[in-house]
């Protein structure tokens, strides 16, 4: 399993750079991860990221966009504004969670 140095910390990541250990994440780290993909965190961003974190903790799966909108209460349109182009993937990256499973 590869390890990445993010700022001054070493964290375990997968081959695409997604964190693999739920507990190695904190909000400081999230800011750095966000800036690496060109996102500056605002309160609206945090609301989505915190939902991802708590939902994952409860269910063990990264929530889909539809779940973030129907259960988390953040409209999909807003997610595309906050995390342009690939919101599901970008949110998971910042939240330190596995990429949402492409359900086959």
């Amino acid at each position: 399993m590869p390890v990445a140095a993010i700022k001054d910390r070493l964290v375990k990541v997968d081959e695409e750079g997604f964190l693999t250990d739920y507990d190695e994440w904190d909000e400081e780290l999230a800011k750095v991860l966000a800036s690496q993909i060109g996102i500056e965190m605002t309160e609206d961003h945090w609301r989505a990221i915190r939902f991802l974190r708590s939902d994952y903790k409860e269910n063990g799966e990264t929530p889909t966009l539809r779940r973030v909108s129907t259960v988390g209460g953040i409209p999909t349109k807003d997610l595309f504004t906050l995390f342009p182009k690939k919101p599901a993937k970008k949110m998971a990256y910042i939240a330190g969670l596995p990429k949402p499973r492409g359900c086959v």
């Binding site: 539809r66 999909t76 342009p84 492409g102 086959v104």
Partner: protein, 414 residues
């Protein structure tokens, strides 16, 4: 007398009734199946209706015929489950009690969930093939269509039989070529995924097959609405895709009574343990087939493989013993590719579809992730297998758990 209640007499519910009736003593266990209709459809056949390969009458039989003696069938709509009282309320307010409940009411397309989709153009220039009526109407449309821009589209995942939109695309390409009008049809495949399919190796193989057939691929497309007047798909990130003929796969959701009963997730699927299919919320409720939230294909093959393990687990579980047959998400799906050929994919929760041979390593007769005539014949013969072996729960020469034997693992994935 204990009662096992099975909601849904489709692929999974019928298999469960047949397998468990053999295993549970008729003097100790009453088994009842509830379904809203008398007709059992062979759903894999729907794909072929739009191209006139099957007629709807080729694909339907009476549900009762596939349930064994000693299983009651109740034809009724389900109002809700009351898990606290171990009972199911039907639409006419009558009630059925249970000791154990199996939810096997599958998933269904919901065009009304996407703004503009089920409006004025529905079944005019906008079609679907996941219902018998829809597939038949699409067939009539295709037969009189003289070409233009054909957009094949998936609203969101997961969907029943996730390879079907690709199969439809391959069959449409072959059909229009045969009609001598392929040059008058522009084809675009529009998906919310980041490639032709979900996992990397299959996505690459299937993406190349789209390219060979001159089908454009539009990825990461999350549809926000359909504009029926301008005939356009509009995404959340404001891309617009015009169409003359749209063949869409609407949002799929589990049955509404699941939501009314508080048993479902945001898409009305029942959260279960992915290895045993036991409800996470109630220790006497299982969800089988498409009705559960397990992260693998919603497909008959998954229902079949998981049922083989479930049968043994259930018999142990009701005796207070642990369930030790753990399901791995094994799925395999034929992918009809047109011109008398097809592919086969075989995978599970952890292993993506890979090239190779199946079920016998080196011999096949089926080829994994590569086109062959054997796969096409496998798919066509499967209708007989479904009615005669699969539903009755007879032994088939296929292992329930996925095997790596016969699969080619590439040195590098990228």
């Amino acid at each position: 007398m204990k009662r096992l209640l099975i909601l849904g007499g489709g692929t999974a519910g019928t298999m469960a009734a047949n397998r468990l009736r053999r295993r549970l003593s008729p003097t100790e266990w009453r088994i009842t199946v509830v379904d809203q209709s008398e007709a059992h459809y062979y759903q894999p056949g729907q794909l072929f209706i739009p191209f006139g390969i099957y007629r709807p009458s080729d694909l339907v039989k009476p549900r009762r015929r596939f349930l064994p003696e000693g299983v009651d069938l109740v034809i009724a709509e389900i109002e809700r489950v009351v898990p606290e009282d171990n009972k199911v309320v039907l639409a006419d307010e009558s009630e059925l009690g249970y000791d154990y409940l199996i939810i096997a009411t599958g998933t269904s397309p919901r065009p009304q969930e996407t703004p503009g989709l089920a409006g004025a153009e529905w079944q005019q220039s906008i079609h679907e093939f996941y219902t018998f009526e829809g597939a038949s109407l699409l067939g009539e449309k295709i037969a009189r269509w003289d070409g233009g821009r054909l957009v094949i589209h998936i609203v969101d995942m997961p969907i029943k039989c996730p390879v079907a939109p690709l199969e439809f695309t391959f069959l449409a390409d072959a059909y229009f070529a045969e009609q001598g009008m392929r040059d008058r049809v522009e084809m675009i495949f529009v998906t919310p995924l980041d490639g032709a399919f979900t996992r990397p190796v299959a996505s690459r193989h299937l993406g190349a097959m789209l390219e060979e057939r001159k089908v454009a691929l539009e990825t990461d497309f999350m549809v926000e609405r359909v504009d029926p007047e301008k005939k356009r798909l509009v995404s959340y990130d404001e891309r617009e895709i015009p169409f003359d003929l749209l063949v869409t796969v609407p949002l799929n959701m589990g049955a509404d009574y699941v939501a009314r009963s508080g048993l479902g997730d945001e898409l009305n699927y029942v959260p279960v343990d992915p290895q045993t299919l036991l409800s996470k919320a109630h220790d006497n409720i299982f969800a089988l087939g498409d009705a559960s939230d397990i992260p693998t294909s919603k497909a008959g093959s998954v229902a079949h493989f998981s049922l083989e393990l479930f049968e043994e687990n259930f018999v142990q579980y009701v005796r207070g013993r642990p369930m030790i047959q753990l399901f791995d998400g094994h799925a395999n799906c034929f992918i009809e590719s047109g011109r008398g050929k097809g592919l086969l994919i075989d995978f599970n929760y952890d292993t993506e579809p890979l090239p190779g041979k199946y079920p016998l390593p080196g011999l096949g007769p089926f080829t994994l992730l590569r086109e062959s005539e054997a796969n096409h014949w496998g798919k066509m013969l499967f209708r007989w297998v479904y009615w005669n072996l699969l539903l009755p729960g007879k032994e088939m020469p296929l292992e329930p758990l996925m095997s790596m034997a016969g699969k080619e693992v590439e040195a590098t994935v990228r």
